[in-house]
């Protein structure tokens, strides 16, 4: 296997040198280039074995030979046939695209690479061409004239390359006159690739961890508890208050589930500290679970079945612990899954009750079937009912903008709740330009399992449109904090900001909320959640 060195990251002026002129050769004749820095490592043998997925072996995308299983063509074609019969979306999206091109410059990867195969329409065409060849009469008889082509190894490699250059952000589907959703095509494309063992390491690894240990990072129960307790130490230093969360506690009213990024690594842990402080201040009867310790779902980037297998833990654990309902933390794709898939896969959650906030009495009718609410819904309700005391001046050193995570905006419509919290917790809030927020928000460039390190160039490209909008408000208003509600954002944005707009920090909304949260019996706050001096609050800053 070829040893691939970690590639050097090009400078912004090199990356911004984007040529939008399509190549001279037709896309069917343009070979896929595997340029180091733009693709992820292949899935490891051990992870596929753990998950019971096909064709486990050591392989590298940089190699000529991908060690495909015998008869892989039949596997893929049968896989397409099966999915055509299972998903109306797939059939319709294969059939009705008119190639108007409205989606083209809506994709962050196209904007930042100029590679026409990153236009959603052409990314879909990579699969559509094979569908036409084997599943439509016009494609069978007219071949290339009808846009059809044979399936061969190069086509498969091209799929792998481009379906792992799509973050399933759904921005294209907002602009498509027929609502064709490239995320759906990518999801199915990745399922097909997984039938022959073609996943990426950064997805298969976390999925295997999550399956066996409960979370993507593979944190074992004692370490999970340890991590949270060390956050409690920091909270005590800052506020003088000892927060005592519980773990796997039966009979709690609420189960809290958040992505594992929130309890390992900065700045995610500050958001997590925010949850802990808020719940303590409310005296909320809730528990963490070490078994269902992952809100995110990297199975969703593998196949719907894999996603369901990981997601099943949440309801199972809620049932085992006997809680009444569930709160979910800040995370992007997690909420696409919780909102649009969980109930269908693993419901009905008839052993749970419709969520009612014990603090305000608000009944969350919008979650009456799933029995799971988003933490920003919970917190916005508290603020509206004035149940928590906030001192937004503690965030006065911050000029905050807000990044709508792709999936909560386009797969849910959670737009106002986080803004309401930010406006209550911060005095300086500025929106990015209209075409880059809410349902038109731009992806961080690292979603859907692409936040590895070996593809850093591609991540800096993919996040370019987002970063460029941040830079706009940085220059115009002096914005220095990018708030968000997604663990991958918190993991991916620091590098992206350093690269495109240095000086902008990254925070979850509950970090900023907890900065402002006035807790009963707290010592005067002189530091923020990061342990940095609060200017004008008696600290040294």
């Amino acid at each position: 296997m070829a040893k691939v060195e970690k590639p050097k990251l090009p400078k912004p002026d090199e990356i911004s040198n984007i040529d939008y002129h399509p190549p001279a050769t037709s896309w069917m004749d343009t070979p896929t280039e595997f340029k180091p820095g733009t693709f992820c490592w292949g899935a490891k043998e051990k992870d596929l074995i753990t998950l019971g997925l096909p064709n486990p072996r050591q392989w590298s995308p940089a190699d000529e030979d991908w060690k495909l299983p015998e008869g892989w063509e039949t596997t893929i074609l049968d896989g397409i046939a099966e999915r055509l019969s299972k998903y109306r979306s797939f059939k319709i999206f294969m059939d009705i695209c008119v190639r108007c091109g409205a989606c083209a410059d809506k994709c962050h990867f196209y904007i930042a690479t100029g590679d026409p195969k990153n236009m959603p329409v052409l990314r879909a065409e990579l699969l559509r061409s094979v569908y036409k060849k084997y599943f439509t009469k016009s494609g069978k008889f007219l071949g290339r004239l009808a846009g059809a082509r044979e399936l061969d190894e190069n086509v498969l490699k091209e799929w792998w390359s481009y379906f792992f250059q799509c973050t399933e952000c759904r921005r294209c589907s907002v602009f498509c006159p027929y609502g064709i959703d490239q995320a759906e095509v990518t999801i199915i494309g990745r399922e097909l690739l997984n039938l022959v063992g073609l996943n990426i390491d950064w997805i298969a690894g976390p999925a295997a961890n999550c399956y066996m240990k409960g979370n993507h990072l593979g944190i074992e129960p004692h370490a999970f508890k340890g991590n949270i307790e060390s956050m409690c130490d920091d909270i005590e230093d800052m506020t003088g208050i000892r927060v005592n969360p519980t773990f796997n506690r039966k009979g709690a009213e609420i189960l809290f589930v958040t992505p594992s990024g929130d309890y390992l690594g900065e700045p995610g842990i500050y958001t997590c500290m925010g949850y802990l402080m808020l719940f303590h201040e409310l005296g909320l009867d809730y528990t963490w679970s070490t078994y269902a310790s992952e809100g995110g779902n990297f199975g969703f980037f593998t196949s719907n079945d894999m996603a369901k297998r990981l997601n099943s833990k949440i309801y199972a654990e809620a049932k085992r612990l006997g809680v009444k309902w569930i709160i979910g933390g800040e995370c992007g794709h997690m909420w696409r899954v919780m909102n649009q898939y969980m109930d269908t896969w693993n419901g009905p959650a008839d052993f749970l009750e419709v969520p009612v906030s014990p603090i305000t009495g608000t009944r969350f009718e919008n979650a009456k079937s799933t029995k799971m609410i988003h933490i920003t819904e919970f917190t916005a309700d508290l603020i509206k009912h004035r149940k928590i005391k906030l001192d937004p001046s503690r965030n006065d050193h911050l000029k905050v903008t807000y990044h709508d995570s792709c999936n909560p905006s386009r797969g849910m419509g959670l737009l106002e709740e986080p803004r309401y919290i930010l406006n209550a917790a911060c005095n300086n809030f500025y929106e990015m330009p209209e075409n880059t927020i809410r349902e038109k928000t731009f992806c961080c460039g690292s979603g859907s399992g692409l936040n590895a390190s070996e593809n850093m160039e591609q991540r800096m490209r993919g996040g370019f449109p987002r970063a460029n909008a941040v830079k706009y408000v940085q220059e115009k208003h002096g914005v220095n904090m990018l708030a968000n509600i997604c663990a991958v954002d918190r993991a991916a944005f620091p590098a992206l900001m350093d690269y495109w707009c240095p000086g902008v920090g990254v925070a979850g909304t509950h970090e900023l909320l907890a900065n402002a949260l006035v807790m009963k019996g707290e010592i005067p706050r002189v530091i923020d959640l990061r342990g940095e001096d609060l200017p004008g609050k008696g600290g040294n800053g």
């Binding site: 400078k11 912004p12 002026d13 911004s16 984007i18 002129h21 399509p22 998903y87 109306r88 979306s89 797939f90 059939k91 319709i92 009705i96 190639r99 108007c100 091109g101 083209a104 410059d105 904007i111 236009m119 052409l122 439509t136 004239l145 009808a146 907002v174 602009f175 006159p177 027929y178 959703d181 508890k225 796997n248 506690r249 070490t290 078994y291 297998r309 833990k313 199972a316 909102n339 898939y341 109930d343 269908t344 979650a367 079937s369 799933t370 819904e377 916005a380 309700d381 386009r410 797969g411 849910m412 419509g413 959670l414 737009l415 709740e417 309401y420 075409n435 349902e439 449109p465 460029n468």
Partner: protein, 334 residues
Amino acid sequence: MKALLSFLAVIVLILIATLGVNVANLHFFFGIIIPYLAFIMFVGGFVYRVIKWGRSPVPYRIPTTCGQQKSLPWIKQNKIENPSTALGVIVRMALEILFFRSLFRNTKMELNDVGTNSPKLSYGSAKWLWFGSLVFHWSFLIIIVRHLRFFIEPVPYVLQIVDSIDGMLQIGLPPIYLTDLFFLLAVTYLFLRRIAIPQVKYISLAADYFPLFMIMSIGVSGMLMRYFYRVDIIAVKELALGLVQLHPTIPAGIGAIFYVHLFLICTLFAYFPTSKLMHMGGIFLSPTRNMICNNRMVRHINPWNHAVEVHSYAEYEDEFREKMKKAGIPVDKE
């Protein structure tokens, strides 16, 4: 090349009809057999395609939400772009189908300061595609409605009104229809953007040019017939009525250009169900648009939802029991 091939295909079709009628005298074939055949292929093909789509279930409720969800009572929901009721979905779909709502959002990205450390992206308004498509589809629809006067006797009052509004310019004799002009302009625009915008040209297939040329030639042949090479309109109506009433006749003296027009229409109808033109039916079934965004309120059922292998809590505890006990985490089995 792809455009040229499609263009040639349309020329060949025109030649076939011209020669077939003028040289081979196949009026019966082109005036009766082909229209019936095309009609059967269109209706049969359309129904077949829709049934084929309908046979695949919608396993997940996956609307693309383009506005604020229904959550807390004091947060204003966008009831159309994120509809939580059937009525909301109907309005959303109506806006989509009648006014191309999503295409109206279109923007054009521009990158400035390329190759510097601070490149600048901007997104300008781009409504031409929306406008051109809207004009094209609506003109097309009105033209089809206008044509009903050939198939109905007496011509209903509504059709007469449509006719007179469409001809309100009162220029020429017979008066020029507004929709004829709009239609020709719009279809030309749609063709030109396909070859003028490099990205759109790059993604275009022969299957994208062919219908455009077909539609263009149908329009042109129709207009030639109306404004320049007049055909016997009474005879045309006789033929049309005969077809509808299943007493087909071939009245004498209809010019060959009519048969060209008719043959192109028939070809387009027959071709329709096998092509991307099925977006006409597909848009109604698009799951990202036609579903109610009540995901957390009402459980969506997946008919093929099957059991999957899971890693149970018991298995998990078996692996980590000692570590959990040591850390003071409660366990089920001591």
